[in-house]
């Protein structure tokens, strides 16, 4: 009989190897390159902090982070409200478990097509000659098409919410469905109103799922490159678009430094979320 400890190690090993080879190792290369020298279209191994200085020394970096964090917060707020309500409805208002799971699957239907198609489908809807504007102009509600609908912060957030809400629904649905229904009766017996039950019973018990969903949404927005580019009509730069522009003229060391900085910032954001809710502790406690 293999000792439990060895068995555990063997079970974990494949994942560790995969992570080492495909995640840690490439990341170390990026880290190394971020310290390389750059001159005349080439990079030379070495150690310099110039690349970091170049990234941190410009107001541009901070403006980019400010604009992406703004997007992240707006998207997070919208997806949280929508995701929570959808999950709540599915778990507590749909009586039949089968229908609940069916409706849950319906939420994933948009994922049967690609991200890009779901994103681009907003263009004919929000454009100057798009469905909404032609309808409004046609019925005489407005005389000039609304420009803010497309190629604006508005359209970027709409698309983020559309695409990322599912990442909020799934973990919240998951934790919510584990709430013991007897608690509702107890709450009612204790004289709590529906709102109070929601605030004092449901939300505290689903904070685990909320935290996980928040991590997904925030990291996805911070690391986005394409949605912001297309739906802002190129009018908004993202952190990754700055990295991409560096790479397109072979400024690899600076791109690497920018990437490492982004990883640090996103890790801090995740750290803050985990600080509020200790997901790991709660998962262990459950067992």
């Amino acid at each position: 009989m293999v000792p439990a400890r060895t068995r555990l190690t063997l079970q974990v090993l494949p994942l560790v190897v995969v992570l080492l080879v495909f995640f840690v190792f490439p990341l170390l290369i990026v880290l190394a390159v971020s310290f390389f020298h750059y001159d005349d279209m080439g990079m030379k191994p070495g150690f310099t902090l110039e690349n970091y200085a170049a990234v941190l020394d410009t107001g541009l970096t901070y403006r980019l982070y400010w604009s992406m964090i703004k997007f992240a917060v707006m998207t997070w707020a919208c997806t949280l409200v929508i995701g929570f309500l959808v999950a709540y409805f599915l778990v507590f208002h749909v009586r039949s478990k089968l229908i609940a799971i069916g409706l849950f699957l319906v939420c994933t239907v948009p994922f049967w097509t690609s991200n890009i198609i779901r994103m681009i489908s907003w263009l004919p809807l929000l454009g100057k000659q798009g469905l909404i504007n032609s309808a409004l102009v046609g019925t005489g509600v407005i005389h000039q098409p609304l420009q803010f609908l497309l190629f604006s912060d508005f359209s970027v957030v709409v698309s983020y919410v559309h695409i990322f809400t599912i990442f909020m629904i799934v973990p919240i649905f998951n934790t919510m469905s584990r709430i013991d229904r007897a608690l509702f009766e107890a709450a009612r017996d204790a004289g709590l109103s529906r709102l109070q039950t929601m605030l004092q019973v449901v939300i505290p018990l689903t904070r685990n799922g909320i935290a996980l969903g928040s991590i997904f949404v925030v990291t996805l927005v911070m690391g986005d490159f394409y949605i912001v580019k297309v739906l802002s009509g190129g009018g908004r730069a993202s952190i990754l678009s700055a990295v991409y522009d560096d790479i397109s003229t072979l400024l690899f060391p600076q791109a690497a430094a920018q990437s490492v900085f982004l990883i640090i910032i996103v890790m801090l954001m995740v750290g803050i979320i985990l600080r509020v809710v200790d997901v790991r502790k709660e998962l262990v406690d459950r067992q």
Binding site: R63, P124, L150, G233, G235
Partner: protein
């Protein structure tokens, strides 16, 4: 630059290309054995036997390294040609990191500079290029009919010559070795909707005109977007650049500050990075005036929507003019022996006319129009190269009609267009600073 290549061309092309390759497979065996004597290059039979196992890998951007062209070369030459598409920076990275996996690198002027400096390519012997003397002097001597071609940015001539086969330094003047052999080129301008813009556009400053507030767009590829912006700044009278293709920090600042002010005033409806985006913006009416690429104008026209490629001829005061670009082929350093001979055959094949005719139907040009003419009918050649009114319907390379009889190509003949180039695609010395300021424009 990276995504100019247009899925439009490619998707239309793939079906046809597949047919071509199937056909060429069938004919392949026969061609190698029997057709060698009658092939375009007239190679002897023994040669044909020796080269049939050779494979050449040609890597570069999709608008320059075209599958249908590779298939035709393979058919005519009797050895295997593999075409691979990567965007500009990915291609250069591949040339540097895996030089052995490439035989023929696709090079723009600035890439040729990098490739030569890194010792990636060997000099191309001028005397082994049969049509060298028929190449337009725009490329070989940097002039046309005594008139010097613009040297702003990296003109093909500027990056053309090295002194020896193994040289790592590009030199001025005509020499016996070339860094790259130009094969396709064009000049870029503004595109606009004549139904939504009430007068003919012939000046770059229209891009910044408040009349088109919220209806203009500029391309978001920093290296060339900055030059379009510079052309417009110069046209508007903001500044006279010493060299739009190699600006000083102060010149970059002036240009970007103008862009930021315009963006804050709501001038730009959008910026675009891919061919398709520019077509969509124009076709949907989101914008009426924007920087554009020639095949994108054709693609808008193919949707039945009017679109004109503004003829921005240079003025006596030096304002206006096109932004030119040119892609060429290099020879990687590792090529030698029979494979090198085959590579030279391949390079020479590009100047034998078939490719010149093919790219012309996209709206691009070959540096040796003389041979391309043989592969086009008089109507096509007149329309595409000479700027004459079409005598009959004009079709694109895949047979779709794009111009009615009587239509004239925007900007006139290729000589008229090419003697009106203001600057060439480039990467500036202050590139790093420029990219950073460009991002500030985008983040503004």
């Amino acid at each position: 630059m990276s995504e100019r290549g247009s899925k439009h061309d490619m998707s239309q092309g793939s079906g046809k290309a597949a047919r071509v390759s199937r056909r060429s497979l069938l004919k392949g065996a026969a061609a190698i054995g029997t057709a060698a004597g009658t092939s375009v290059i007239g190679a002897p039979m023994i040669w044909a036997q020796e080269i049939k196992d050779i494979t050449l890998t040609h890597i570069g951007v999709s608008y320059s390294v075209v599958q249908a062209i590779g298939d035709q070369a393979q058919k005519d030459l009797g050895f295997k040609v593999v075409m691979q598409n990567l965007d500009t920076s990915a291609a250069l990275t591949r040339f540097i990191t895996q030089p052995k996996s490439v035989d023929i690198p696709d090079l723009e002027g600035w890439q040729a500079k990098v490739a030569v400096a890194h010792g990636l390519v060997q000099g191309i012997e001028v005397k082994r290029i049969k049509e060298f003397d028929n190449m337009l002097p725009i490329f070989t001597k940097g002039e046309y009919e005594g008139k010097k071609v613009s040297r702003q940015g990296i003109s093909p001539y500027e990056a053309m010559y090295v002194e020896t086969k193994d040289a790592t330094k590009i030199v001025e003047g005509v020499h016996d070795y070339m860094t790259m052999l130009p094969q396709v080129y064009n000049c870029d301008s503004l595109g606009y909707r004549p139904d939504l813009v009430d007068h003919p556009v012939v000046q770059w400053k229209e891009l910044f005109d408040p009349k088109y507030k919220g209806k203009a767009a500029i391309l978001d590829v920093p290296n060339i977007g900055i030059m379009d912006a510079a052309l417009a700044c110069e046209s508007r009278g903001d500044i006279v650049y010493k060299n739009k293709g190699n600006m000083t920090r102060a010149e970059i600042d002036t240009t970007i500050n103008a862009l930021i002010a315009l963006k804050k005033a709501g001038q730009f409806r959008a910026t675009w990075t891919t061919f398709e985006q520019s077509v969509e913006l124009m076709a949907s009416g989101e914008v009426v005036l924007q920087s554009m690429w020639s095949p994108a104008v054709t693609a808008v026209l193919a949707k039945g929507i009017p679109c004109i490629y503004a003829p921005v001829n240079q003025r006596p005061d030096g304002k206006e003019g096109y932004r030119g670009w040119c892609n060429g082929m290099g020879l990687m350093k590792h090529l030698s022996g029979k494979k090198l001979d085959a590579a030279y055959e391949y390079l020479n094949w590009y100047y034998s006319g078939w490719q010149g005719a093919f790219v012309a139907r996209h709206g691009y040009y070959s540096p040796v129009p003389k041979t391309a003419e043989k592969f086009m009918d008089a109507n096509e050649y007149g329309y595409w190269y000479l700027g004459k009114p079409a005598a009959d319907v004009i079709k694109d390379p895949y047979g779709a009609p794009i111009a009615k009889p009587g239509a004239v190509r925007d900007g006139g003949s290729f000589i008229e267009r090419f003697t009106n180039i203001s600057c060439w695609n480039t990467v500036m010395d202050e590139n790093q600073y420029m990219i950073q300021r460009w991002n500030e424009f985008k983040a503004a």
